[in-house]
Structures are given as C-alpha cells and as structure tokens.
Symmetry: C2
Subunit: 355 residues, 2 copies
C-alpha cells in the first residue's frame, strides 16, 4: 500500500496531538481549522501542513456538537476518503451523519481514542497522547471490514489499543465508566463551596481523588453529556436511588434495617471498585506498599530510586506525597510481595527512613 495521506480537521488538543504523532511516523498530514491562529500554532508545532488537495483518510477532531456536520462536509469534499472522528459519544453522531449525508454514510466510521488532558488547545498537545490508551472503533452492521482494519492500523501505529464495539455498546460503557463519575465528582465538589477554610484544611487524599475530575471543562462536558443523556440518565437514576436510601438510613438510624442498608451500600462499593481492571490490563496484583521519607530537595528521590534499582527491585507504582506544612516528602512505593521484604531490609540497612 502506498503511503496514506491523512487530513485532520480541528487543531485542538486531540487533532494537534494526532498530527504530531502521525508526522513523527513520517505520514503526510494536512491540517484544517476554523481558527487560523490555532492552525498556525499547530503547524509551527510540527503537527502537519495546511490541508490541500485530496486525502485517503480524514479525522474530524472538532467539538462533539459540531462533529456530525463537519463529518458530512468532509464526506462530500473527499468522495474517496474514509472519514472518522474522535468524539466521546458515538451513536448520536452516527445517526446524524446518516441523516444529513445518507449517500456517503458508509464511508463514515466513528472512533474514540480515550485520551485527554485537563488542559485543551493545541498548546497542550502531545505526540504520545494515545500511547497505550484504548481507542474504540464503532462500526455499524454495514461498515466495510477494510475500514475497520484501516482504523485499527492507525490506532496501533500510534501505540494505542484498538477495541471494536458498536456505537451503542461504546456509549453505554462510557456512560458508566466516564460520564456518571464526572457528574458524581462534580456534584461532590460543588458541596465544597459551602465549606469554610478550616474545614477544607482537613481535606485528605480521599477527597482530593474523589473530586479531581470535577475540574474538567464544563463547556466540553455539557456537549458530551447532552449527546449521551439517554444512557447516562438511567445510571444516574439508580445512583440517586442509592443516595436516597442512604439518606433515609442516616436520618432514621434507629429504624430497623437502617444500619444494614448503610453497611450493604459500603459493601457494594467494595465489590464495585474491585471490578475495575488493574494495570497491564490484567487483574489487580496485591502489591506491597513501602513508604520512605525523603528530603524535599533535588536529587533525593533520585538517589532513593537509584538505590532501589541497584537492589534490582522493580517499582510497580509510586506516589510522591508532600504533606501540608512539611518540607519533607513521603514516597509510597508499590512492589511485588515477594520483593518487599528484601527491599525493606536493604533500605533500612542502608540508612533509609522507612515508615
């Protein structure tokens, strides 16, 4: 197969990142963007050149609510091209494309690289944004298998993990693992507005983690949630039922069954969180946690990790914690259980402060 020519429409975070990644792979990338300033910025970054002529593959990377319209336009403009998009909700866009461009709809194949950052815009782009992330491809019953292969190859070229499922399956999955958590985290964080400084000063890692995604972009999420409202609603309704039952239990603690309901919800939380797959795509390994105290100064973390490397133990996960008010850091290291004791001994014997 001769070298593909790929066009990217939309030079935001995803479009520019795609352009950078494809250009790095020596692919001829054409860029198109409504804002000329952002287009120039993306080109200066090295994400491609201004789009011109014909293309084999068009990747539409515009906002979710603009996607169907832009896809239809590109299908008409490039009558030989396969056109895909990267929006986070798939079924509504596919329906919309079929409605406004029925004669071209077979050349549209939706996809969703599950990559993103807190920040948007071409300035936040990274060539490896898609690295080892799921890239969902959502064919309909009529999509030519060759088109699916083409997008799978694209995903693999960028070191992403292609996963094929229907648009409806995809939307149902992200409703559960992405859209519901977003709403819940935002609603939790909204409660913090009523807290005073003393109260918020007692915030620990639990609250920080539970509320982190509440800092996401409201404009983008309004579009995502609007497009998937019919699949998110039932999940949110079930969540609301649990919250109502919890509230009733807490308000009537002495009623028979209240404590059992409260306990049951906490237990269901345990089993739910245990279902999230672990690292390396496999099941959770029960890593052992070692915590080491280091100075909060350049090089101290490095010398710790150099030492651990010399001991020959692989660090499976690492968290650096700076505690409020302290100029000292705690390094939490997860290692395989069989390595934990040896490492712990070696660290202690060599003067590291293990806690």
């Amino acid at each position: 197969m001769s070298q593909e020519r790929i066009k990217i429409v939309g030079a935001g975070l995803i479009g520019t990142s795609l352009g950078l990644a494809l250009t790095k792979h020596g692919i001829d990338v054409g860029l198109e963007n409504r804002s000329k300033a952002n287009l120039r910025l993306a080109i200066e970054y090295g994400a491609g050149k201004e789009a011109q002529g014909d293309y084999d593959l068009v990747i539409v990377c515009v906002s979710p609510e603009m996607t169907a319209e832009v896809v239809a336009g590109q299908l008409a403009k490039h009558p030989q091209a396969l056109v895909t998009d990267v929006a986070s909700v798939k079924a509504e866009i596919a329906r919309e494309v079929a409605r406004i461009a029925p004669e071209h709809a077979l050349r549209y194949l939706g996809s969703h690289p599950m990559a993103g950052r807190e920040k948007g815009g071409p300035g936040a782009a990274r060539a490896d944004l898609f690295f080892a992330r799921p890239w969902v491809i959502t064919p309909s019953a009529d999509t030519p298998p060759a088109s699916v292969e083409r997008l799978k190859n694209l995903a693999m070229q960028l070191s992403a993990l292609p996963i094929v499922m229907s648009a409806e399956e995809h939307d149902r999955a992200v409703a559960l693992v992405s859209h519901l958590p977003q709403l819940v985290s935002s609603a939790l964080a909204a409660r913090l507005q009523s807290g005073n400084e003393q109260q918020l000063g007692l915030a620990g890692q639990g609250l920080r983690d539970a509320s982190r995604i509440a800092s996401s972009d409201p404009d983008l999420w309004l579009q995502i949630l609007s497009q998937n409202a019919n699949l998110v609603s039932p999940l949110l309704a079930e969540f609301k039922n649990d919250i109502e039952e919890l509230l009733q239990s807490l308000e009537n603690l002495d009623s028979p069954g209240s404590l059992a309901k409260l306990h049951n919800l906490l237990e269901r939380g345990n089993s739910g969180v245990a279902r999230i797959p672990g690292k390396h795509g496999g099941k959770f390994v029960d890593y052992q946690l070692l915590t080491v105290v280091i100075d909060d100064s350049p090089g101290s973390l490095a010398s710790l990790l150099t030492f651990i490397g010399e001991v020959g133990v692989n660090i499976e996960d690492l968290k650096l914690e700076h505690s409020p008010g302290a100029q000292i850091g705690l390094v939490e290291i997860q290692v395989l259980p069989e390595a934990a004791e040896r490492l712990s001994e070696q660290l202690t014997q060599n003067g590291w402060r293990l806690v």
Copy 2:
C-alpha cells in the same frame, strides 16, 4: 517535667503506630489490648510493653463505638491521668463520656490524628503514620489549657500538625471533607457492579480516582457514619438535591433551563475543587507537567530521576502510570514552571523520550 509514662489501649493500626512512634522517641509505652494475640504482635514489633502500674497519659485507640466506654474505664482506673482517644467523630464520644463518667470528664480531651491506611491491624502499623498529618484536638469550654498543651506537644513530638477546634467544628468539617466523599464514592462504585467486563475495560484514571476510597472497611465506616449521622445527613441531602436536579435536566434536555442547570453544576464543581488547599499547606502552585516514557524495568525510573537530580530540578509531584496492555511506563513529573523548559531541553538532548 519528668519523662511521661504513656499507656495505649488498643493495639490496632493507630494504637500500634503510636506505640512505635513514641517508643522511638524513648518514651515508656504501656500497651493494653483485648486480644492477647494482637497485643503480643504489637509488643514484638516494638510498640511498647504490656501495661502495668500507673500512667500520666492514656490514649484510647479502640473502635469508634467502644471508645466512650473504654475512655470512662481508663479515667476511673487512672485517677491522675489525662485520657484522650483517636476516634474520627468527637462530639458524641464527649457527650457519652460526660454521661457515664461525669466525675472524671474534665480529664478527658478528645483528639483525632487524621492518619490511616487502607489496611488495619497492628501488622499495618507505621511509626511515621502521623508524620505531617493534621492532629485535631477538641477541647470543651471547661478543658484545662494545660491538657490542650500536653496533646499539642504529643502531636508535635510525632511530627503531626496539631489543630485545635471544638468537637462540633471537627465533626462538621469531617462530615464535609471525609464522610460525604466516602458515601458518594461508595455509591458510585456500587454502580460498577452492573457493568460488564468490556465496559469496565474502558475505565480510566478518572473513575479509578473517584472510586478509590470505596474500598474502605464497611464495618469501621458504619460506626463512623452512625456517630456523625446528624451532620452528614444535611450535606447528603444537599448533594441529593443536586443529583435530582441533574437527573431532571438530563431527562428533559429540551426543557428551557436544563442545559443551564447542567452547566451550572459543572461550574460549581470547578469552583468547589479549587477550594481544596494545595501542598505545603499553601495555595496551589501551577506546576508544569512533563511526561517521560520509560521501560517498565528495575532501575529505569531511578536513572531518569538521577538525571533530573543532576540537572538540579526539584520534582514537586510524580505519578507513575502503567497503561493497560503496555509493558512501558509513563512518568508524569510536576516541576516549578521556571524549571520546566530547562529540564525539558536537558531531557530531550540526553535521549529521554518526552511526550
């Protein structure tokens, strides 16, 4: 002041950790525990010796629902001692102690070292569990100032950060920053029970963070929530109202005002999360993020950090990410904005794969 004799009642995670820490400081620690096996384990770890004779300070580290009774027993047994506890809810315990031991209640002073781990029991104990953590001390109007000073000194001796507030202020604060997040995270995670494997396979860091504390111990949390139900309920009721409004908006997206309400909630989430104080007790510094690709093998993280140490840049935060399906890791490093460019250049020039 002559050397204090401190008694710890309860050799679980907190009691054993306290014993280890105090023993390290050369303090004579007596341990008492209902289970003889756990007591022996804690003593073998070096957390103290079996309690005998009289003590100046008694720290009760038993389960929340047993605390008041055990505090009352210790007040009677040690008529000169200041008795404190470490339970996560303070007002109900203080009321209970005043009720069952009114003649001794002035010698009780509640406290709450805000430290813990996912795992409990003496085997999970760490001498530095309290390191740089808030340690709330909750005097009543009648508490002798000298008792408050004594606990403040204890906290500082263990490198914790003493914070004095009333029991009611404390309980109101933890209702917001700890108990509400626990319920919300558990209820979110409970929804995952209904998901299939394909759906959960699309889980990203957002869901992982939002649901992490849902793996906490249901038995312990049942007690904590029961003791603070009257302060958690109103917060959960407000949260429920937001969820109900969200649900109505999603179910009636075309009704006037629905999108505005949805957008408003997302924006309130933004402002709420921005109120959580940052590291070092100060405001958030807007660190710059650099992401480096490394091999998932011993020593590779160390050599990266050694290099960064040699460049002389301090790492403010670090996250190690293993992507599902990949045997390669992404290291996300936060550095001060003024150091980011220099570090980035140095890394690239020296062959590190920056993304």
